[in-house]
Amino acid sequence: MLFKDQILFVLQHMKKNKLRVTMTVLATMIGCSFLIVLASVGFGIQETMRNEILNQEQITQIELWGNETLTEEDKKFIEEIEHVNVVLKKESINSTIHSKLEGREGDSNGTFIDISAQKKLPSNLSEGRLPETTNEIVVGFHYAQSLLNETDKAEIERKSKAAQEEGGYYDGADEGYKGEILNKKVELQFFDETAEQYGEPISFTIVGILKEPTYDWYIDSSIVFHDELRNAYPALITSPTTLIYVDSLEHVMPVLDELKEKKYQVYSQVEQLEELDLFFLIFKLGLLFIGTIAILIASIGIFNTMTMAVTERTREIGVLKAIGASPNLIQRLFLMESTFIGLLGTILAIGVSYIISFLANAILPHIVSYALSDENIMNHDITFSMIPLSLVIIAGSISILVAIFSGWRPARKATKIQVIHALRQEL
């Protein structure tokens, strides 16, 4: 029988049992869309979290740890690794630095930064420039806010208490130094480890302000010093870190591997990304498994429909066999029918899933932000549901395979029908 005629033959039968076929297609569609939509949540959340990580500027950065500061030799070696753009040495001061400005005071973390390396990187400043000399500094975005006088302190204490009673906390955003701090001179005191007290105040000029941190809960009141200033304070205890900047995301892993091979202690967000991907792979497999159960339930419908079709057409199968249809052909015709049902249901399901997914992404953020009465959720770019092509392919294959599989036994049954028994059946 020509393939075209087989298809027409099967379609003719499906048309004759429109209602039953439609219901079965519908069941398959519901099962398959359930699978896709469920798994799409896994893909959506993963996408959201990935973006969260990828949006951080540190994504192409590798952190190098170690108690010793990096030797020139090490630095040279690392700089020569392919795709490494910049090696930035940093030393964060373990003790806090005390600031004084116009009767206000504050404590900050301080860091010596290799200014010549920093200059090769894209600017991390929101205003001003990097220090050129040892008496110039750059301060964190919230530095001004951290400079307080006695009235501010009392005010913050009062607001914090009030916030605590309501189960929240107060970040002190309303207080602090309100004027322009760029190009201001501040008095800074380093902690003298030997004398166990703060040293003499020294005057520095603020020449730049860092960008606002990516996380909105992070208060950055740090101070960045020129690395040459380090020599003036040999006794200061510091923790050195080295940041290695790689030219692009896909080259982070190879560089990381090379450094690990040389026994450097390294850390990168990209590794976190890989762990995240592994976690979500398992998570998505779990969702797929649950979703497949829905398809299995739908497959019972297909099994039923096909079994009934075979029983109803017993006489017809007998006639077909009598005039020379091979058992293989009979089996194929029935398998095609269940495959069509599966295919139709799956195609519809893909369409429906995309619609549900679209609606979920459009509506859910509103509901969530309303329920949590948190406006911020709307500003975040949250994907609740995402249907990548791979999901469509996986879910579609599962659905169609299950449909074929559930049509298998009825189709086998059809081939077993004996001509003489079938023809003896009355109309």
């Binding site: 020379g324 052909l329 001509v419």
Partner: protein, 231 residues
Amino acid sequence: MIKVDSLKHTFTIGKKDKENRIEVLKGINFNIQSKEIVAIVGKSGSGKSTLLQIIAGFMKPESGSILINNTEIAHFSEKESAAFRMNHFGFIFQNFQLLPGQTVFENIELPLKLKGIGHQVRQKKVQEILKKVGLVEVEDHYPNELSGGQQQRVAIARAMITNPPIILADEPTGSLDSQTEQEILLLIQQLNKNEEITFVIITHDEEVASIANRKLRMSDGFLVGGTQYAF
């Protein structure tokens, strides 16, 4: 054309522990020449239908040999039987066995479809046959819109559409009145003469038997009467 040798068949009926064996064919021998019309007659339950069904390959005989054009078909697999039927046999049944959901045209077309013949050739062949059996006016009707005689004409058209050398018929006029029976018999005679088709017809109707060149009489699992062989 057809040569049957010591064909035996036994049915086993009833439950496993209380089996009952019915020897239906106890050793059948006969031959049929090309272009013959042969009638198989005999009492009800004498095994006529069983014999025909075994020749058709609808079931396997217990033992014996069936040669069709020198091909041994008694031990064909189901698949081989199906393929062989498609090319060598046409069938006519007492209750027509048309597909109710398909039109006259589609019913007649079906064997050609199964053979994998293309749409255009099918159209031409079916039109030709429709003329031969006188059904041109009803080609778009469904079987239940036709009289018994018309339905049997459709069945005959379906049986001969692939030009099989042999048509096997089990009581082809059993459901028809005597006038319609005459029409069908005339058609069979015409086809035998013009298309050179060999007919094997089961009947207990003397009218039907009268158009046959030869009668094979079945009795108690054997063929009796000495007309088994034609030369």
